[in-house]
């Protein structure tokens, strides 16, 4: 088992390094010259060369790559000229905003899917049809469009929740950063108004971001549950006299979760890296907008670090998914157990 874990960790490390390498290569293969972009169109050859050497671009390729990795590990992620700040500063403040959004959306998607799928497999007929309809609509609606509709209905028309005004109402100051999550930081400082205001600002973007994975997981879980419910061991459990709902919670759910958990790591990663459009719609100061700018400006330091960071998040998400699966299923803990 420890050999197994060691192998997984090693494979993860290799994945991260490969991702960083590919991003490093691809960025440099793109047409254009960052030194020219920084120094401006009127700069002469000496200025260009000086800029280049200050960026380290005159050094051999692998030396640049090695330097980048080493600096990243040390916590020096370089200077972003498109933002005008240290990459680490820029990324962490922006990334926590995105993460807060993504994590809440993730929780909503998973919990919502569990409820919906349970309803669908437990209550045939009208309610099952309703869940199917929801899944279909959810899978077919682009998140940014859903965001716009939610703003129109719940903010402009009904006025229940704030519209696209970022993370907080303008009269409030952001909390002293501890975790970077406004809801959590306000709570830590005991500021209840802050908590409720930041939470209210989260509702609409979280729902629009969660809808797609929510619908996807609902479909997946419903199919798994139907499959599990037909297994002989469920009949055996029922023959013990265990009521249907308890059978569902104790046996059907656990067995249906297995294939779902593996895809959760992927979903979380997609939420973090794919929320650009929703962030734009809601004026959310997330990492998305900054990144698109960085890419068009050929801001190597910023983009590289972000890609490396998302690779790490991705891999960690998958590792956690695997670990959870192992916790649920004893068969995965003993290597070579076929059934």
């Amino acid at each position: 088992m420890f050999r197994d874990i060691r192998q997984r960790l090693l494979a993860s490390a290799v994945t991260i390094v490969l991702a960083s390498f590919v991003s490093f290569v691809v960025l440099r293969a793109l047409p254009g010259d960052p030194a020219r972009l920084i120094a401006g169109p009127l700069a002469g050859p000496e200025t260009l060369a000086a800029t280049r050497s200050s960026l380290g671009l005159d050094r051999p390729f692998f030396a640049q790559y090695g330097q980048f990795l080493w600096n990243f590990v040390r916590g020096d992620w370089g200077y972003s000229f498109s933002v005008g700040d240290e990459v680490r500063e820029a990324l962490t403040s922006r990334l926590t905003a995105t993460l807060e959004l993504a994590l809440y959306a993730f929780v909503l998607a998973v919990v919502g899917a569990l409820v919906c799928a349970s309803v669908a497999s437990f209550r045939p007929g009208f309610r099952r049809g309703l869940v199917r309809l929801f899944a279909l609509v959810g899978l077919g609606s682009p998140p940014f469009w859903v965001g716009l509709v939610l703003i129109v209905v719940f903010s402009s028309y009904l006025g229940w929740w704030p519209g696209p005004s970022g993370r907080l109402s303008p009269q409030l100051y952001p909390p002293e950063p501890v975790t970077g999550f406004y809801t959590v930081d306000f709570a830590l400082h005991g500021d209840l108004i802050g908590v409720s205001d930041s939470a209210a600002h989260l509702v609409l973007p979280v729902v629009s971001l969660a809808l797609l994975p929510w619908a996807f997981l609902t479909r997946l879980l419903t199919a798994n549950m139907a499959d599990t419910a037909g297994q002989p061991y469920i009949l055996v459990v029922r023959s013990k006299g265990v009521p249907a709902w308890r059978t569902h919670v104790r046996h059907v759910l656990a067995n249906s979760l297995l294939p779902t958990v593996s895809s959760c790591g992927l979903i979380l990663a997609t939420l973090i890296t794919g929320s650009v459009l929703v962030e734009t719609v809601f004026n959310w100061p997330g990492v998305g907008a900054m990144l698109t700018e960085g890419i068009s400006a050929q801001d190597f330091a910023l983009v590289q670090s972000f890609i490396l960071l998302s690779a790490i998040l991705y891999v960690v998400g998958n590792l956690v998914g695997d670990a959870v699966n192992r916790m649920i299923d004893a068969r995965l803990r003993t290597p070579g157990a076929a059934r």
Partner: protein, 544 residues
């Protein structure tokens, strides 16, 4: 609801004029039978006869869409038809319980065994102290013969063998000492030796606790061993009822007689000349295996030094329990897996070492028929294409010609034109297996490896498929390597039989030698375990 355990009439279950429908289709048409207290009733029938439906109706657990449309089911003199699920939950696991078909899939794979046994106890004894629950679980495991119960409680189903899992299921079923035990094909998925042990265990526990048993099975042998009364079902109706002696000694109905006839009797022999009659020329060896070994990783040898020769037109049977290496032998022989040592000589060519293109060419001469025709046929391909595919793959003819040949082949196997464009799911089990056989034999291979080709089929279809295999063998001269766990079938069909035990061939000889003069102790054990409907008297005496 309370069901009185004092029972003046001595009837455990009485089913009268039971009708069950799925949607609008009635599948059980007025079934009536009575189970005395402490008695063992067998419900026998082929797939689709409605036997399992009846059993599940008694538990009130029909599959989705199924419902009782008429009649009564009296459990200890109380009608249970139309009870709410809540009321039934009170009965299930306490008054009536179930031992289900396939022990491999009947336990929740993600819960430890202990929890699964405790579940049924706690369900009916709320507030029982944990220590007491645990104590009962241990006692139950000991009672059903699971050793080292303390440790076993914490283990998961995959750490148990098939037979052990069935014991656990029996422990769950008897946990609250129910009055009625319903056993739905409890031994079908087990080896002969394990099967005998599990039946024994069921019998003794039922007797000890005075439980009445309904045994649902397709296996007449099992019924003969186990039941005092038998109900024969066909197409949703009971066609014959009687004591076990009556049914087996003098069946009144043609169908029952037919079912009995489908089981080969000790003296029965498949048609055609015997192999190796003196006076015949020495037949050519088509497959010679020498010193074949197989191991996975650094594990023990699953196959250990196997020597075997197959001659043209001969059938060699491989018998043994699951885990003996039967299927590994088949898979290694056709090079689905590579051997760890030894040679496989096919018609003079070194098949065991052949690579890429050469391997493909040689494969024409060694084909396989798999156990389960439900999963060994591509569900999206038409029957005719499935059979034609080998010809096309090996570049022997173009598609129209291949389809023509396949049509011919299928016709000779009794599948006429109306079957050609069907998908496998629209065929019965027997028809699917014929398709699988046609696919294997259309290349006229020198050797066909048959891995339990009839064990997934109904009894009456088995005989047809065996006959078909024999006909094809006589006309094509194919040598069969016939992997089989049913010894009666091996005796009926094979020219020589090899007994495989722990990866080694421990005995090899003609059926007559093996069955009348078994030398190896394992062979003897295997023979003792066979339930035999034609030798009914043997066990009946022990129990009455």
């Amino acid at each position: 609801m309370t069901v009185s355990t004092v029972n003046p009439t001595g009837t455990a279950v009485e089913v009268s004029d039971l009708r069950v429908a799925y949607g609008g289709d009635e599948v059980v048409h007025g079934v009536s039978f009575r189970l005395r207290r402490g008695a063992r009733l067998g419900i026998v029938g082929e797939s689709g006869s409605g036997k399992s439906t009846v059993a599940r109706a008694v538990l009130g657990l029909l599959p989705p869409g199924g419902h009782v449309t008429g009649g009564r089911i009296e459990l200890l003199d109380t009608d249970v038809v139309g009870r709410t699920d809540k009321e039934m939950n009170d009965l299930r696991g306490r008054v009536v319980s179930l031992v289900f078909q396939d022990p491999l899939t009947s336990l929740d794979p993600v819960k430890p065994i202990g929890k699964q046994i405790a579940e049924v106890i706690v369900q009916h004894h709320r507030g029982l102290p944990r220590a007491e629950v645990r104590e009962r679980c241990l006692r139950l495991l000991n009672e059903v013969g699971v050793n080292d119960a303390e440790r076993r409680l914490k283990q998961y189903p995959h750490e148990f063998s098939g037979g052990m899992r069935q014991r656990v299921l029996i422990a769950i079923a008897i946990a609250n000492q129910p009055d009625v035990l319903i056993a739905d094909e409890p031994t079908t998925a087990l080896d002969v030796t394990t099967q005998a042990q599990v039946l024994d265990l069921l019998r003794t526990t039922a007797e000890r606790h005075g439980m009445s048993v309904i045994l649902v099975t397709h296996d007449l042998g099992v019924v003969a061993e186990f039941c005092d009364e038998v109900v024969v079902m066909k197409a949703g109706e009971i066609i014959e009822t009687g004591t076990a002696e009556q049914i087996f000694a003098s069946p009144a109905q043609d169908y029952t007689r037919h079912l009995l006839d489908c089981i080969p009797r000790p003296g029965d022999r498949r048609p055609g000349p015997e192999f190796g009659d003196p006076g015949d020329a020495e037949p050519a060896a088509v497959l010679t295996i020498t010193g074949l070994r197989k191991r996975y990783g650094r594990g023990p040898h699953v196959l250990d030094d196997i020597d075997l020769t197959l001659h043209a037109g001969e059938t060699v049977g491989i018998v043994g329990e699951s885990g003996a290496g039967k299927s590994t032998l088949a898979r290694t022989l056709i090079r689905l897996e590579n051997a760890s040592g030894g040679t496989i000589d096919l018609n003079g060519a070194d098949f065991g070492a052949a690579r890429s293109k050469r391997l493909r060419e040689l494969r024409r001469d060694i084909q396989m028929v798999f156990q389960d025709p439900f999963s060994s046929l591509d569900p999206h391909m038409q029957v005719v294409d499935i059979v034609a595919q080998p010809l096309i793959v090996h570049g022997l003819c173009d598609r129209p010609a291949a389809r023509a040949r396949a049509t011919e082949m299928l016709a000779s196997m009794g599948l006429d034109e109306q079957f050609l464009d069907r998908l496998p799911r629209n065929l019965s089990g027997g028809q699917r297996q014929r398709v699988a056989i046609a696919r294997a034999l259309i290349l006229r291979p020198a050797v066909a490896v048959l891995d339990e080709p009839i064990s997934a089929l109904d009894v009456s279809v088995r005989a047809q498929v065996l006959d078909l295999l024999r006909e094809e063998q006589l006309s094509l001269g194919t040598a069969y390597l016939f992997i089989v766990h049913d010894l009666a079938v091996a005796r009926y069909f094979c020219d020589r039989i090899a007994v495989l035990y722990e990866g080694k061939i421990v005995e090899f000889g003609s059926p007559a030698d093996l069955f009348e003069r078994p030398r190896h102790p394992y062979t003897r054990r295997l023979l003792d375990a066979i339930p035999d409907p034609h030798h009914l008297q043997r066990r009946m005496k022990d129990t009455t």
